[in-house]
């Protein structure tokens, strides 16, 4: 004969087992044990009957009438909208980059155009220049090559050039020769003569057009 304590423990064990026996997930031996216990315990039998009724009630149709197709259609629409929204920023970003590149190219094209027009309009007025890789400067008509004496003072040299209206356009070269040009071509011969006659000038010769 079982004691009251044993019975209470069995009822507690039966209480624990009921949900899993009802949902058919309990081990076979646990189900068999509960069946045996219920045959001997009226209280647990009543409890099990209530639990069975609860499970039966929960299995009844809920009466909710929702159309799964309508819900699915709304879900797909939401997914479409989400994907469109996700792709829109990419498209917007791509458009922005493209527009920025086009704008940069246009600015460069306009800049190059303006520069070209500027060069075109002022082309001959710019002073020519020569780089070391260029061939020697061609001889200029009326140019005079002058070699001043090494003892000639700079002030005397400047005074002489100023009085004869000559300007240095090249030199001095390796031997100390300068190339000078008269302000007016018509005065070239006179300037040559005066240079030859001037004190402190060792050499004054017209530059040959074809050396």
């Amino acid at each position: 004969m079982k004691s009251t304590k044993d019975t209470d423990q069995d009822c507690a064990r039966a209480w624990e087992a009921m949900p899993w026996v009802l949902q058919d997930s309990a081990p076979q031996e646990q189900s068999a044990w509960l069946t045996d216990h219920l045959a001997r315990c009226e209280a647990c039998r009543e409890e099990f009957a209530q639990q069975s009724r609860l499970r039966l009630a929960l299995a009844l149709p809920t009466g909710i009438q929702l159309d799964p197709e309508a819900g699915l259609k709304r879900l797909l629409g939401r997914i479409d909208a989400g994907e469109a929204e996700a792709s829109a920023p990419r498209a917007r970003a791509g458009g922005w980059v493209t527009r920025a590149l086009v704008a940069a190219v246009l600015v460069q094209a306009v800049g190059i155009g303006i520069l070209g027009a500027e060069l075109w309009s002022s082309g001959g007025n710019h002073a020519s220049y020569r780089t070391l890789s260029n061939p020697a400067q061609p001889a200029m008509a009326g140019a005079i090559r002058v070699v001043p004496d090494t003892n000639m003072k700079l002030a005397d040299w400047n005074t002489l050039l100023h009085s004869l209206q000559l300007a240095v356009v090249d030199g001095p070269n390796d031997v100390g020769a300068y190339t000078v040009m008269p302000a007016r071509t018509s005065t070239g011969d006179a300037a040559l003569r005066q240079l030859r006659a001037a004190h402190g000038i060792r050499l004054a010769e017209p530059v040959a057009a074809n050396p």
């Binding site: 209470d8 009822c11 949900p19 929702l66 819900g71 997914i79």
Partner: protein
């Protein structure tokens, strides 16, 4: 896990893999397969059909986006119901928790074919369930209605198994004290005893 459950889970996993690759037909199949059971589950949380549909779509929106990150730590059904549970709680928090009130159900929530015995049982269940908290209703639905194990319920509700046990215990004690009275039976001291 029963063989039928294993087969169903395998099918669900294949559908998830296809969904991860952007297959909308797989999404539609999974949606239709789960719509009924999610409706039933959510009906324990709210009586509003519009909220139920919104929560189901919120759930499948997440399932669609996360299909590729499902690692298979649980059954697919456990994962989906867990998402539904959290979406449901979020919806209730946003709208204010409305206890299920079977008496206040609109006509369209009453099945067209409702034999007297079923109606009586449904009324009995409704009155009992409204005495429970939302968490207790969910545990009762998941264990007795859906047939989940304690571990599954713990995964769905993201809480320890001990918490699920406690919620189930308290729900059963409440129901034990309420159900006989609702059935018109006198409450005896023995029926109030809890093992």
């Amino acid at each position: 896990m029963k063989y039928a459950d294993i087969d169903a889970d395998e099918t669900d996993r294949l559908l998830l893999q296809r969904m991860a690759a952007g297959d909308r037909a797989a999404l539609a199949t999974l949606y239709r397969a789960y719509h009924g059971r999610l409706c039933r589950f959510l009906s324990r949380l709210t009586r509003r059909n519009d909220v139920i549909e919104e929560v189901i779509n919120d759930c499948f929106w997440i399932v669609w986006q996360k299909a590729g990150s499902f690692h298979g730590d649980s059954r697919v059904s456990t994962w989906i119901i867990g998402i539904t549970y959290r979406c449901g709680l979020k919806a209730l928090r946003q709208r204010g928790d409305e206890p299920v009130d079977e008496e206040g159900l609109p006509e369209d929530r009453t099945p067209a074919f409702d034999p007297g015995e079923d109606r009586e049982l449904r009324d009995w269940l409704g009155k009992a369930m409204e005495r429970l908290s939302a968490d207790q209703r969910v545990v009762v639905e998941l264990v007795y209605g859906v047939g989940h194990t304690l571990d599954d319920v713990a995964t769905i509700m993201q809480c320890p198994v001990g918490t699920v046990k406690a919620r189930l215990f308290h729900a059963r004690v409440k129901l034990r004290n309420i159900l006989p009275a609702l059935a018109g039976e006198p409450i005896t001291p023995k029926e109030n005893r809890v093992p």
